[in-house]
Symmetry: C2
Subunit: 429 residues, 2 copies
């Protein structure tokens, strides 16, 4: 071993930061064999110095200021595990770049908002920013996309990238309990962010999707244009009805480059119950990368947690230790083009659930509205009922979201539809 | 673009070689953006110059000799797609290394047999050998293991790595036809190697498993010690009986480092029908990497075919174009240790299918044999029958292969077991 050690500075010592230090310690021999050098931690910084973390920080300097840590001469690479798109995480990242350090981050919010400017700054300074841990926890999906499938034109990316949402949806299905009940359960188990809207509103998953889209399509990260719809409106009735027709409901991220522009959606969708996505239970994540030549590559693993996320951080650390230097989004940030987003999404079948008033001719009227909008019906079910309205499920043939919105609007004018009608896209996989 | 082009020499122009040239042509702009340089083909070599391949070879030199091609001054990297562990593939690889070229290969047999000496030679010469396409087609599993999970101690690798075998087994299940009938069908469809024993004997898949094990455990490739059992003895009765008890039969590769030594098996196993492996249909491949911290990472995709395999070759080409240089097995070949193989495999439940002669006390005698060998019964089924023997299925509690072999031996002495008894391991996932 003739190479100099790689010296890390770690800011943020939550479960992931602690996990990284544990892995560096217990796997030191293995890491030296694999990278040809020693990996050491020069300094750490976190909010509380006294907190018990189950790790030995002896011999590691403490810095109260993440920025001061980032600027230290004995740090070659900053490991940023604080989170948040603004404030100390961003400041420490910029300080590291400006003083000649590489940056490894698990911070999806930071990169989803500032990825383009940070990547530009890093590349101008000859440094790299890597972010495997920011997307889908322990699954090496950033590497698979940026390197493993780099020979392919990417056609589409799909994924379940928020384990908390998938936990809630699959628990609703197995327990038969309501969204509110399972939300409370997930919250009590500590599965939700301090601001749960980051999870159930789909924001966290949309950050991840936007990062993958930039790599896949050579576009500047464009989080703002992700069509975003959380899972808060999903009812146990929808979950049961979807199951009854052979589907499962997932908070599904989809990104594809179309003639109309870049399509990015993070919305609840129906997927076939027998597909790999349909079979995904609990907090597990799955990302499907569709390359023109590779075909569908399905990646599945833990989307969060100390070990899996630390494992992803470690892979970036090892890349840097090995001298594997790659542009943040797989090509120079200066060559990324504006995304030209479209909200006119690709056509698809849709699932509709209506409460239809029990009046003669009601169904005929609904069908006529759909016919007029050129939305044809693939399958329909009306269920027995003992109230004055009947639950009706409709699966349409392929149509557009715009046409669906139009018929929902027309439906409401008929005064025949009780409750809020539900319309969810059925994604083909 | 200030960097010089990467100049390739390709030996072997079957479907994969042609696929690589097609990808280089159609994705030239995208590849330049992603690698920062042009990738060109200086020369090609194949058995037949006149064969129609659907690719334009204008401007590319032709060499009759793969070795002469490998030695050319205008080749920076050799792309070896001929196959075979000896002869021209090995000679061209050695010629490339000795004249200062990197090597990209899809040749699992070559590396399974000569991987250690070739990696040593390459590393001594400062060259790299990369082989993403040698394992599981389009799935970037070599990269996931060598780089993505490099921070982890790897606990176990499992996988279905031969699409032809999985096709045969799943077709038997869906059609109810016999092994021989489906074997003939697969052969007619061109799914089998010229020597079908490479597929159905498990050799091809065992080559792949041995390569992954070397990376995972830091051991010299040891193909010779893989416990090898093909699918030729699997009957439709076993497939149906397994399904009846909630299992599917897969040709499963498993590798793990135990206290007894390195365990490598490529054998038909039962897996839970509801697991990702159990749900794998047709020619698709799946590899599961179990890292101590990452947990289970499941990778799934096409295991063969022009596009997927060419995509994997391209990822190695791109790595080299980008200057990403990594040791063949993830650490210096000189640091890989001898594998110390064990055939004393980890204990597991086993599935037994017996034809039990219809005599009073027969079952008691069988049960006594099992009890004496300390093999306890988890579940048992005896089926209705109109012959003089009854099919009996037994699922044991965890035991060893040695104990199973012992009871099979004792069974035969009882003269109560007709036909050949079947014993298959049940792998927990």
């Amino acid at each position: 071993m003739t190479k100099t050690p790689l010296r890390l500075g770690i800011v943020g010592l939550g479960t992931v930061g602690s996990g990284v230090i544990k892995m560096l310690n217990k796997n030191a021999t293995l890491l030296s064999a694999r990278t040809g050098r020693q990996i050491i931690v020069s300094a750490v910084s976190a909010r509380s110095r006294s907190k018990e973390r189950g790790i030995d920080l002896a011999g590691i300097d403490w810095e109260d200021s993440p920025v001061a840590l980032a600027k230290r001469d004995d740090v070659d690479a900053l490991v940023e595990l604080m989170g948040g798109s603004e404030g100390p995480a961003k400041e420490a990242t910029l300080a590291a770049i400006s003083t000649g350090k590489d940056v490894i981050t698990a911070n999806k919010a930071l990169l989803a908002i500032h990825g383009q400017s940070l990547a530009l700054a890093a590349e101008k300074a000859g440094q790299v920013i890597r972010f495997e841990a920011a997307v889908a926890g322990g699954i090496p999906v950033v590497k698979a996309l940026t390197e493993g499938l780099a020979g392919n034109k990417i056609n589409r990316i799909l994924g379940v990238m928020n384990g908390s949402c998938n936990y809630i949806l699959t628990r609703m299905e197995t327990s038969g309990l309501s969204y509110d009940e399972i939300f409370a359960e997930a919250d009590a188990l500590g599965y939700l962010e301090a601001d749960p809207n980051l999870d159930v509103g789909g924001i966290d998953a949309a950050h991840k999707l936007a990062l993958l889209a930039a790599i896949a399509f050579g576009t500047k990260v464009n989080f703002a244009s992700v069509v975003l719809e959380g899972i808060g409106a999903i009812t146990i009735e929808d979950i049961n009805a979807a199951a009854d027709m052979g589907y499962r409901i997932k908070l599904l991220g989809v990104s594809q480059m179309t003639e109309r522009g870049l399509e990015q959606r993070m919305t609840p969708c129906l997927v076939s119950a027998g597909s790999p996505l349909g079979q995904l239970e609990g907090g597990t994540n799955m990302v499907i990368l569709e390359g023109e030549d590779s075909g569908q590559i399905v990646l599945r693993g833990a989307g969060a947690g100390e070990g899996p996320t630390a494992s992803a951080v470690m892979s970036d650390i090892i890349d840097i230790a090995r001298g594997q230097r790659i542009n943040t989004f797989g090509q120079p940030a200066s060559s990324l083009v504006d995304a030209k987003p479209t909200t006119a999404t690709t056509s698809a079948p849709f699932y509709l659930r209506l409460q239809l008033l029990d009046k003669p001719g009601a169904l005929a009227k609904i069908a006529a509205v759909m016919g007029k909008a050129n939305v044809s019906i693939d399958r329909m079910r009306q269920y027995a009922h003992d109230t004055d309205s009947a639950p009706v499920l409709i699966v349409t043939h392929k149509t557009t979201r715009a046409a669906i919105d139009q018929i929902l609007n027309e439906f409401s004018k008929t005064k025949l539809i009780g409750d809020r009608p539900v319309a969810l896209r059925i994604e083909s996989i």
